[in-house]
């Protein structure tokens, strides 16, 4: 008898004569305590993300490319990993063509095996979109894809994410109702830069992932 059959048979014999418990899920318990007026959502997300060492900047659909360029210039970052085949990637590329000293744009356009060393050692920052935001916990929902692969939001020391204000949901339960079906190969909730408190409970940022997270919220989108 295989391990699988043995385990399942044992569990089944233990349940003999019982019926499964009816689904007890009660959405009000996870939804109602975490509801916000539309105007509050941005404020709350900003407040919570700032409290965990993220930088949240409010902007609009016309000005964000310039703001992003300014952020990079202020941090003296001259290279940025982007996804050229996305709307936001194209918008920022277009902006860079109009400026005198544009940042060098890198594209994640090859399998990781072909440029792992460069990604690990020579990419100071990345820029991705987001699927949604969550006000209750100060969270970004990020869906890696062929254009914006999984490691874009993980390996570079600085991750910059673009979030549309209209896509900020009240809570995780609400956000879940809008997730892709079937589930993508990888879906992420990101609520700040990577951190640890494993030594004496002293908080340290930049454990294994990004040391800094900057969120640009596009208020009119």
């Amino acid at each position: 008898m295989s391990a699988r059959d043995k385990i399942l048979a044992s569990l089944r014999s233990s349940l003999e004569g019982t019926t499964p418990i009816a689904d007890p899920f009660d959405a009000t318990l996870v939804d109602e305590p975490w509801r916000y007026a539309p105007a509050e959502r941005v404020t709350r997300l900003k407040e919570l993300m700032t409290a965990v060492h993220s930088e949240v900047l409010l902007t609009n659909s016309l000005e964000w490319p310039k703001l992003l360029a300014d952020v990079l210039a202020a941090r003296k970052i001259n290279k940025l990993l982007i996804a050229p085949n996305t709307v936001h990637g194209q918008a920022f590329s277009a902006h860079c063509q109009t400026t005198a000293n544009p940042v060098q744009l890198l594209a994640y356009d090859r399998p990781i095996e072909e440029w792992k060393r460069e990604l690990f050692d020579d990419v100071p920052a990345s820029f991705t979109g987001t699927l949604a935001g969550i006000a209750a916990t100060g969270t970004l929902v990020v869906q890696p894809s062929p254009t914006e692969p999984r490691l874009m939001s993980l390996v570079p020391p600085l991750h910059i994410a673009l979030l549309n204000a209209s896509q900020i949901y009240d809570n995780l339960y609400q956000a879940q109702q809008h997730w892709p079906k079937p589930m993508p190969s990888n879906l992420l909730l990101i609520s700040g830069p990577s951190k640890t408190a494993d030594i004496e409970q002293v908080l340290a940022y930049g454990a294994h992932g990004p040391k800094d997270l900057i969120v640009l919220i596009v208020e009119d989108a």
């Binding site: 043995k6 499964p20 999984r150 990888n186 640890t196 030594i199 409970q201 930049g206």
Partner: protein, 482 residues
């Protein structure tokens, strides 16, 4: 500074009493534990200020877990079917030996030499690191706390904060000795040093290992919770990802993870959510540029089906591994996690370990509790830990003749002499004449009680019976009234 360290190899679950005595004398350990637990206790309650919200959610968490267990075999099959359809290979293991053999076989097929691990308590159950290294494969922990204790050849002292028993100075000295780094007790510098070393390990690793917080049957999704990013690195950078988990970790659907996630991160760390929630439903797909080519899930039983067989003990499997019961336990706080000699320490460890190892190997665990009830009060999924401890105490003294095999090693503390004494006590209390005669003698000659009553008088003064029994006093009182 020179705090006494209990090495992994010296600690066994059978020596709980000896280990506890050693730990109690270790003032550094006690200071480190006390301040850490106090901080975790206050963070938890600050994150759950509304009594109604918290209690309603705990109730829901309990029901969600109970429902999942009530259809566990069906959910496991559904999970397997969905994962398989999506390209994740599912393996089943009765024992830790079988689980290790599965992991080793995958590693050898890939000709793997280096394995990097995200945090996984099930891999600790398996002693996977030792097993892989016996076969020439390096298994390195990447969770900061796990990395620290692995450097010091120790076992985790807490399921969420493995190195909580060490202070920054101790970690600084450890890095100085083991990594030849200049000494510092600055936490940021220590973390950055470890980050640098571990990034190279992620880069070169052939396989990444992780645990699973929740396995979602309906969508075939492995959900992992973490703050550091090492979980994402372990499950994304190496070409192979192996997740190992217990068979009880499955939940019916995605919405069930909403209350459980909120309960888990707030109970564990006082955080509304962790930095990363990583949901994995498939290996790298055609067109995707990163992520593992192969993803495996190993489902481990290791005594869980034994707990499952008894409807009361089954509640042990509600556990979502937050560690709140430890943080609030007066025994755990004083002796630390390593004294238990088990992978899972503290209250949850005392009720799960007897199933994993047998009661004969954890004979003192059910009794190492004051039954104060704090663990049951804070448990986010309402496991009645004190009631289960009492149940295990009963199983522990069951006589060999008593019918019913409930668990391995039951009756390990059975003593014919003790059973006879209790039988005598029962008889004495159920024959009125004998009881009256006995209490008359005890009250009239109470002064003759010896000063030394064996182990009792090592820590207590000898009991001296009162001059009159309660019966006599009550009778006299009632007669006076009439």
């Amino acid at each position: 500074m020179n705090s006494q360290r209990i090495h992994a190899v010296d600690v066994t679950a059978r020596n709980l009493k000896v280990n506890a005595r050693l730990s109690l004398k270790d003032q550094q350990l006690r200071n480190n534990m006390r301040s850490a637990m106090d901080s975790l206790i206050s963070k938890r309650i600050i994150s759950m200020p509304d009594d109604d919200e918290r209690e309603n959610l705990r109730e829901l968490g309990n029901k969600v877990r109970a429902r999942a267990l009530s259809e566990l075999p069906d959910l496991l099959e559904l999970l397997e079917a969905n994962l398989t359809k999506q390209g994740i290979q599912v393996h089943w293991a009765n024992s830790t030996d079988e689980a290790n053999a599965i992991v080793l076989k995958i590693a050898q097929t890939r000709n793997a030499k280096q394995v990097i691990k995200g945090k996984s308590m099930v891999s600790e159950e398996m002693a996977m690191n030792e097993h892989l290294s016996e076969h020439g494969i390096e298994a390195l922990e990447s969770d900061m706390g796990e990395y620290i204790i692995q450097l010091d050849n120790e076992k985790p002292t807490h399921i969420i904060m493995p190195a909580i028993h060490k202070n920054a100075e101790q970690v600084g000295r450890l890095f100085e000795h083991r990594l030849a780094l200049p000494y510092t007790n600055d936490v940021d510098s220590l973390i950055q040093s470890a980050r640098g070393i571990l990034r190279e390990k992620f880069f070169h690793a052939d396989i990444g290992i992780s645990g699973v917080n929740f396995a979602v049957a309906e969508t075939g999704t492995l959900l992992l919770v973490e703050n550091e990013g090492n979980g994402r690195m372990s499950t994304t950078v190496p070409p192979v990802h192996i997740a190992v988990t217990g068979i009880e970790k499955v939940v019916a659907n995605l919405q069930d993870t909403v209350p459980l996630l909120s309960l888990l991160t707030r109970s564990a760390l006082g955080q509304g959510i962790t930095t990363y929630v990583n949901m994995i439903s498939a290996p790298r797909q055609p067109g995707e540029l990163d992520g593992p080519e192969e993803v495996h899930l190993v489902l481990l039983d290791n005594g869980r089906s034994q707990a499952f067989a008894d409807s009361e003990l089954r509640q042990t499997l509600n556990c979502i591994r937050c560690g709140a019961c430890m943080n609030h336990c007066p025994v755990y706080t004083r002796i630390g996690g390593q004294a238990y000699g088990t992978v899972y320490p503290g209250p949850i460890g005392k009720i799960i370990s007897p199933h994993l190892l047998g009661l004969e190997n954890t004979p003192d665990h059910p009794s190492a509790s004051s039954l104060c009830g704090a663990c049951g009060e804070v448990c986010p999924v309402k496991i009645p830990i004190p009631a289960l401890l009492r149940r295990l105490r009963e199983e522990n003294v069951k006589s060999p003749q008593q019918a019913g095999q409930v668990m391995d090693g039951q009756g390990s503390r059975y003593s014919a002499k003790e059973r006879l004494l209790w039988k005598g006590w029962q008889y004495f209390n159920s024959v009125p004449l004998l009881y009256k005669a006995g209490t008359f003698m005890a009250t009239r000659f109470g002064g003759l009680t010896p000063k030394n009553l064996g182990p009792w008088t090592q820590n207590h003064s000898a009991p001296k019976p009162a001059a009159r029994s309660l019966h006599e006093l009550a009778k006299a009182h009632l007669e006076k009234k009439l």
